[in-house]
Symmetry: C2
Subunit: 180 residues, 2 copies
């Protein structure tokens, strides 16, 4: 039974490296310490490590930015189509008074993925229409999804939606220009 679970666990994590130990414990109806033990025995690194590995792989696909210029961890990317990144917000990003994450950090996450998704050596934002829908606090995990909606010669229209726990907190439409 343990063997069976461990083989399924390996498969599951391969399919979706972003499953938390908690989610895995629910899938297999075992405790979180059991999942941790399984991971140890199977040599599956913890979530944070898995995210880093995936991000490093994805970084190498990006043309328009150097990897250290990308804001957040790049979870998935398909050039000129779509990309997903993640940013964990912390106390250095918030307004002192309200502890709400400053808009410019959210904007930077969105702008960064909008540029990264473009299949060009250089891509610059020309226009952006953005909307902050729900305030975000330190400690939240923001998932940014970029989708290239239109390509016309050197012009790209990219939509970026940022969610926290499935709730949309931000959306933006970016018009970018690729420069040769």
């Amino acid at each position: 039974m343990k063997k069976e679970r461990q083989s399924m666990l390996t498969q599951r994590v391969q399919d979706n490296p972003f499953l938390t130990d908690e989610e895995l414990s629910e899938i297999f109806s075992v405790s979180i310490p059991t999942i941790r033990l399984d991971r140890l025995e199977l040599g599956i690194p913890e979530l944070r490590e898995r995210i880093k590995n995936v991000a490093a792989e994805n970084h190498s696909k990006v043309k328009s930015l150097h990897s250290r210029e990308i804001i957040g961890e790049l979870l998935d990317i398909s050039l000129n189509k779509k990309a997903i990144s993640m940013l964990e917000t912390d106390n250095s990003m918030v307004f002192e008074k309200t502890k709400i994450v400053r808009g410019n950090f959210i904007y930077s996450l969105a702008e960064s993925i909008a540029i990264a998704v473009i299949d060009a050596q250089v891509a610059l934002v020309g226009v952006a229409n953005i909307k902050y829908k729900i305030p975000v606090y330190a400690g939240s995990k923001l998932i940014a999804r970029a989708e290239v909606r239109r390509i016309k010669e050197n012009n790209f229209m990219v939509w970026v939606k940022i969610t926290e726990k499935q709730m949309e907190v931000f959306r933006g439409k970016f018009i970018l220009v690729a420069i040769k």
Copy 2:
């Protein structure tokens, strides 16, 4: 003649603390070293110091942000009306490949002044429509001017224009919400 010039120079700098030594030398048709000597004798600090002094005075007028949360030097502010700030861009702000200043630094300057100008303890950006008009390089001095165009209950519409050497490089319309 020297006395007369020095008395006029004091007046000029009081009226406009942002005059450079070069500009002053043109105004009085003397060399830049002469202006420097005049300043030394009159105890008028150099431009950078004068900007810092003005910025510190202005910081204390801002309600919606702590002074260290303001991006750039705050050159002038009149709450719920208008504000001016300045940012000197440097190499830490540019894309490696092109040396063009990253959009998010320009956005942050604009967002910061749009929030600072609001006469409220807390102001959050809801919507922003922005346009980058000309690429900016490291070492440029960006002047951001915010103007409150409409106030309707807790909603504020603020226009921000950023120029470099009189050229408009960015403009944005921000809709902010003040929270009590």
